[in-house]
Symmetry: C3
Subunit: 431 residues, 3 copies
Amino acid sequence: MHALLRELYPLCRSITGEGVRETLRVLGRYLPPGLQVREVPSGSAVLDWTVPPEWNIRDAYIKDQQGRRVVDFRRLNLHVVGYSQPLPRQWLSRAALDAHLHSLPAQPALTPYRTSYYQPAWGFCLPHQLREQLRDEQYEVCIDATLDAAGSLTYGQLVLPGDTDEEVLFSCHICHPSLANDNLAGVVVATWLARWLAARPRRRYTYRFVFVPGTIGAICWLHEHRETVVPRIRHGLVLSLLGGPGEFTYKRSRQGAAAIDRVVAQVLRQAAPEAHQLREFTPYGYDERQYCSPGFNLPVGCLTRTPFAEFPEYHTSADNPGLVRPRQLAASLRLLRQICRALEQHDRRYLNRQPYGEPQLGRRGLYGGLKGTGNPKQAEMALLWILNLADGQHDVLAMAERSGMSFAALRRAIRSLRRAELLAPVPPPRE
Amino acid sequence: MHALLRELYPLCRSITGEGVRETLRVLGRYLPPGLQVREVPSGSAVLDWTVPPEWNIRDAYIKDQQGRRVVDFRRLNLHVVGYSQPLPRQWLSRAALDAHLHSLPAQPALTPYRTSYYQPAWGFCLPHQLREQLRDEQYEVCIDATLDAAGSLTYGQLVLPGDTDEEVLFSCHICHPSLANDNLAGVVVATWLARWLAARPRRRYTYRFVFVPGTIGAICWLHEHRETVVPRIRHGLVLSLLGGPGEFTYKRSRQGAAAIDRVVAQVLRQAAPEAHQLREFTPYGYDERQYCSPGFNLPVGCLTRTPFAEFPEYHTSADNPGLVRPRQLAASLRLLRQICRALEQHDRRYLNRQPYGEPQLGRRGLYGGLKGTGNPKQAEMALLWILNLADGQHDVLAMAERSGMSFAALRRAIRSLRRAELLAPVPPPRE
Amino acid sequence: MHALLRELYPLCRSITGEGVRETLRVLGRYLPPGLQVREVPSGSAVLDWTVPPEWNIRDAYIKDQQGRRVVDFRRLNLHVVGYSQPLPRQWLSRAALDAHLHSLPAQPALTPYRTSYYQPAWGFCLPHQLREQLRDEQYEVCIDATLDAAGSLTYGQLVLPGDTDEEVLFSCHICHPSLANDNLAGVVVATWLARWLAARPRRRYTYRFVFVPGTIGAICWLHEHRETVVPRIRHGLVLSLLGGPGEFTYKRSRQGAAAIDRVVAQVLRQAAPEAHQLREFTPYGYDERQYCSPGFNLPVGCLTRTPFAEFPEYHTSADNPGLVRPRQLAASLRLLRQICRALEQHDRRYLNRQPYGEPQLGRRGLYGGLKGTGNPKQAEMALLWILNLADGQHDVLAMAERSGMSFAALRRAIRSLRRAELLAPVPPPRE
């Protein structure tokens, strides 16, 4: 995953343009077959928005009076404010230029990431210490960019069909240029999750991976799938910031207690009991803003490690591949696999066929012999919990919540008890 | 407010008598026009009670054998037990006198406040250190008071009519003699709140201020308004101890989660997030005891700073105007204004007219241009929250609870969004 | 109670056999008249189980080559694994013997308690320090026990009839040999509780005390009373570990918020506010496992002091009469009496006959005269709470929960208010 992240890092992505297209081309080589790439023409009306002109950029710089590129887009694409208007080569006084510069006085060595998608503007981002060294009277500046009203916005999606057409949605934003944790980390983890899901023998749900430019991309996707796919979404996650430092943080969907909210809470409780955070929905953040707008109100939460704006490297040049650790990507992937496994079984219900008293597990070979220590094994506890809660009322998710046991342990216990004919599945109400 | 408090401080109030009448006369000069003063004759049956004889007192003292007034009502009216029986001038042995003395061994410099309204008794209150210095064999004592069975109990009320006849009740007890925080502080804050409300261009609710002797006064008021006003009360607060030290404390109504309970909790969360307490209803305290009796069960809470009996000056001569700070009166008034503003809007509901995805705020001038810092302004957050929760289900109070934003910020956001035609009010079910 | 405990301590109890019978014979001398002893034949099918052969043991030992009994059942019955197969006298090599030895390396001076009821096995338990001193090449071993397929399982029960046939169940396990806290403590406390209940002039509920071998005994009892008694059980407690150290711990029933769960929580809050624990149901523990199996789902919780496996003496020779203190037995009994008293009244409802405002308690002699301290007496608070909550909606349990007052204080207040004709009982919906 880290190698793919490093491969994608240099591309200059934005909410439209070649950087997104090239990113999807690269992803297509790693994803299971079937990535669909969609172009939405500039000017299209999508929900309450209009797709903007397509932005592309070849070069941009600030040269000093000796002709040295003191700020150079080609060295770091964060140096140009995203969606900067084209700026023909020209000389500007230092004061005139300064009004278009962005830097971080508190982090003087870092270049910030800034954009201005819908308000025509241009600007450069640079380390504050460099800005303070600009002493020439005049600077030559140029932004060799295009804004093409005949262009389009590009997004990708991959659908892995399942036994039912009920869907699980994973959504990642792919509009940030050279920022690693935000959100190449989410993109590569999603890619590997798709590979794992594609290799599974069966999938109860249809899984859909959506790689979209933030906000306008999600709005395009919602616009185009409003009648068809949206009504079939049962669970969803926005995946972001999954490679950086810090503990897992889950932001609940607007619904607040949807199955996805409860499943993620349980998986985190098991996987990272000491080190995770659950947060309530707020209407600021990533594309859960769109999925959880009141008209859609989808059960879509947001999974990250340390959330946006809460780590010092956020939206700066320090969010580079060095911030993302392979170990953290792997842990994020592992967590998502557990979430998928839990989702697939979360609403299953069972009936204990010997509900009066405990069934005698010993004679069925399910229980240890010598007694007296008072410390049952986890596997035995899982058997007892399942038998106790297999009343047709508790589904597996409720069993996990009440017992505190992992979905994996419950799954194994269910398998043993079904083999021993102590458990009968309750047919689901519909499907 | 503090000047009015100092003006009222010397008057000898009790549950009946000239002190209450004079207090209401003074208040009438500060309140908006319309204070009604009501006399309920002694002997009247009110709910389960009977109005007691009217008590008035001219003088009282304990003189030593040298004829010096060692305890003198005219210096401090707390020196006489409230509602003391008339006591003709007479000599008493020290022991006989001592059985009628009240002092505070743990606060030897302070004079306590004591009353005996319904059990015939007489007594003096004095500093414990003074009591210990009483060494004479005999003392001359006199309580020049009257208990008049043909008298009456006096209370006042002021009604500020609103657009509807639904009422908000503010109730203060006015039966304590020279005690400043308890409850001249509540009385003067209520007076200024009435002035502010009277000056508002519109009032949705009718506001009623009730200045009553504690317990029996509230019972008289309830008795006389049981059929007429009581059914129209939508929200209410007992106001006490609003000028002393300590953090705001809100005691919930018996209902526990009435709109007033939820509104005050939100306003305190915004106004004093670090420093306030919420407490459950108990049937001991001020006149919420009467308003929240099970037959009425009105949505009336009690707002104080440090509650009764929890500050050392409580019911002693140390509860004097020096304990009450103008700054604290002002903060209490400010809080009550916020509560009133919040009440007026708390149950309004709105519909987001672009509920699918976020509406594009930028093109409507509602959203900043340059993006990337990850820290939206509070005003922008309020817009996003309103849009997200304007589903016709959440009223403004629920929006405040869920968002944690102030009612003021939500109000401004609603105004902006209505101006931009993004928000439509939902007609209230009735009114 | 401690004397009875010491009398019962030496008997070698197990899930069947003479030790249980003798234990019940002794208990019969202390219990109120009416203890029924039931024999369930070995081989009987009970729920999902089969009653095992009856086990009895006369002697067992390990002798060294000098003929000395280094491990001697007659000195401590814990030395033999419970339900050991009969083992004719024979010589075994040290290695062969060692495979049948159980000791506690971390507590080398203590003998553990071990059983193997359903898996044929034999073994000895001994202090680890003794085990390490076994250096002879050969040892003579013998277990002079019988397993009788024509035997039976023995349990006892005592029924104290009440005004109704609704029942309260107390269940204790009596299958542990020389272990004092586990569970002779529960047994003797139950015995004294039965004596106290038998002596009461009236009992609303029928009280049933069940003395059963753990698991299989409870299963026998449930099997035999499934249609008759089980449907009448309204509340129940498993009583264990009630004489040892540590704070009271209440494990809720599977229902979680049954009346018994709420009553015990309130009584503990009053009796031991600083020192008790409430725990959620789990399907591991004592016979609540059976009573709370999903088919029965009875409102039966488990009351202990420090729970099993959480004190170092658990299931070792250190759980001897010295661990159990008379003072702790007495406190457990006191708590249970409070629980019974609370159960008898918990669902009573009352109507305040003067619900508008507070009734004037003073003229009825229910309220102190002189006022001003701000600290009402507990008895006055109880009067105010009852009057406030006597709305026909709150039962006594809800009153206790909301007021935090003890059931005893509420009971006294109800009595006073009924005498003053301020309170009318609400007839129960059925009974």
